[in-house]
Symmetry: C2
Subunit: 347 residues, 2 copies
């Protein structure tokens, strides 16, 4: 566990829009808590695509592969057709670097306000372990008879015992290390009987290795409802790629918005670099103004520290973010760089 | 538009658990506002399955096909393996009776409390038009090398221009008849590029026929978030089968729970009967006690009246439900039959 941080290499892909602004703050905080990490910057995203038509040149991908982690800001710009950068960069990294554990913690932090009435800070503390390399995200499918009345389009969800078992085992391990030790499997077994069967049977098999973890199953529709009516019930959730995408956005919404939502796309074996990035997008509407909240980017850097085997530094960063957020005057304008300064100073 | 109600035939499938209790109240209210409809009762669900191993005998299905509408309570019991009744009855009716418009209105009624802070009754009034006969619900897929390390499982989403276009056109028609005339397409075009492309291109094509309707597109993850942070923004939503399943449960949660969530699985051409049922399940834990809230079942009966071409009676029923709910003393125990009596008396 842990890499030698004196030689750890971090690739920085700040990306588009507010990505560059929030990533600068994440860097600032990393420098404060763990000086001496080696960084290389890669200019990927809309600029590169618009200049060259390339999203992720093979040579760049090879260089990225030589790093321990990727610190990513945000990708996307109205000038690029939807899907190009998502599929060509974000999803390509997750798939090619076998980042099968997509980690998305959600906490109701002090000072944040949930849209849910009566919820108090501390009452929500969960992590969604989303599968990152299979399911409907594989891109299998096609279109026949395009733009005719006979057109059909397919999307295929591909699920392997290999892929399902490893992410479920990872989730059980995480649940076992937490206080409540509770793991919820979310799927739609009553409709997606083939994939659902694989997920449930694998879940039951791995559960036998973790008798200390209590378990539960919920359909995705019910889980989406409970995420609103009773999010406190969740500790760790494990689910497939698409359900995880949806559930984590609901989780972000009930904990006060995606301004605080961090994520890691992790290859636990460290055979490939893992990517750490805020869940939010590039927000072109507010880009360049220095008003984007860097909290999610900084919290993603904390996940990166954890991945580097530095739990103490990770905790210092999360706690500094929590304190900074709690100290904000509601309604007062926020300056991206000042938030970074305050977190860096106290972390 | 409209069937001759003096000869309209309604099949009643009260089903399992609280299904029988809430359906009895829906019947009571229908009798009060529109006496003389012809009803036939069908005993389908867990009882039939456990007695005979059959879910929907071909002869029964043929009889059901001869009706104008099906009033359904709820299906499901712990004694039946998950998926059997859902796939064999609920989904089979939707597919075989070509019920391609799955209609799910959500309103924040006076007297209901949303878990969302500060939302006032009347502020949410939307309807989700969920596709009902395609997508991931078709059951296409399979399992190879079951229970071995080499196991794989697939699920295929099948989408046709035919199926997508007709539900989108239905949704535009509904949006055009509403006050705000706003229609949101929800999909995941940046990942599900094949099916997403079909949905977006079809949406754009049909939009040209409805210049009076304003339109918007959102990814399912973003829409799930906005459904929590800003549900007021929605008027009509059109989406695929699975996304509709998830979104309507979030919509139910933010409007105070599935106790008020009604649905219709509609074949607009009336070539086959349409099914009207509450979104909630059979709730075996509270079955037989006379304490289940029949509001969703009664509101589903209102959708049935609308389908029979009786909008005035439909409105009377919804308004009577709204008044009954508004008159409840928060925290006071609820008696299923008394709710039915009060609604029937005022409708
Ligand atoms: C941008 C998109 C491809 C991505 C996803 O769907 O995984 C995003 O929504 C996320 O959650 O990281
Ligand atoms: C019971 C189940 C098959 C069904 C669905 O997924 O459509 C239910 O959740 C619904 O929303 O009507």
């Amino acid at each position: 566990e842990g890499v030698d941080v004196t030689v750890a290499r971090i690739a920085v892909v700040a990306g588009d829009g507010i990505g560059t602004e929030v990533t600068a703050q994440a860097r600032k905080v990393l420098d404060a808590v763990l000086p001496g990490l080696a960084y290389s910057e890669y200019d990927l995203g809309a600029r590169l695509y618009n200049r060259t038509g390339e999203v992720l040149p093979a040579s760049v991908q090879q260089e990225l592969a030589g790093h321990d982690a990727i610190l990513l800001g945000a990708i996307g710009d109205p000038s690029v057709p939807p899907g190009v950068l998502e599929r060509g960069l974000l999803l390509k990294l997750r798939f090619d670097f076998d980042q099968y554990v997509n980690l998305r913690p959600s906490r109701l932090w002090p000072g944040t306000t949930s849209p849910l009435a009566g919820l108090k800070p501390g009452e929500i503390d969960m992590v969604v372990v989303r599968e990152g390399t299979e399911g409907l995200y594989v891109g299998a499918g096609g279109v026949l008879h395009r733009d005719t009345p006979a057109e059909i389009a397919t999307e295929e969800s591909l699920n392997t015992r290999h892929g399902v078992e490893r992410v479920i085992r990872d989730a059980f391990g995480r649940a076992a290390r937490r206080e409540r030790r509770h793991l919820t499997l979310v799927h739609k077994t009553n409709v997606l009987t083939h994939a659902g069967g694989l997920w449930s049977r694998t879940f039951a098999a791995v559960a036998a290795e973790f008798p200390q973890v209590t378990t539960e199953y919920q359909h995705i529709d019910a889980a989406s409802m409970f995420m609103v009516s009773n999010p406190q019930r969740y500790d760790v959730i494990v689910t497939d790629n698409l359900f995880g995408d949806i559930l984590t956005d609901i989780a972000a919404a009930v904990t006060g918005g995606i301004g605080m939502a961090a994520s890691g796309s992790v290859n636990p074996e460290r055979q490939y670099p893992s990517t750490f990035e805020p869940v939010h997008g590039s927000a072109p509407d507010i880009a360049g103004q220095g008003v984007a909240d860097p909290a999610a980017a900084i919290l993603s850097a904390a996940l990166l520290l954890e991945h580097l085997g530095r739990p103490d530094e990770a905790r210092r960063v999360s706690e500094a973010v929590a304190a900074e957020v709690a100290s904000r005057t509601p309604g007062a304008p926020l300056r991206t760089a000042e938030v970074g300064d305050r977190v860096a100073a106290t972390a």
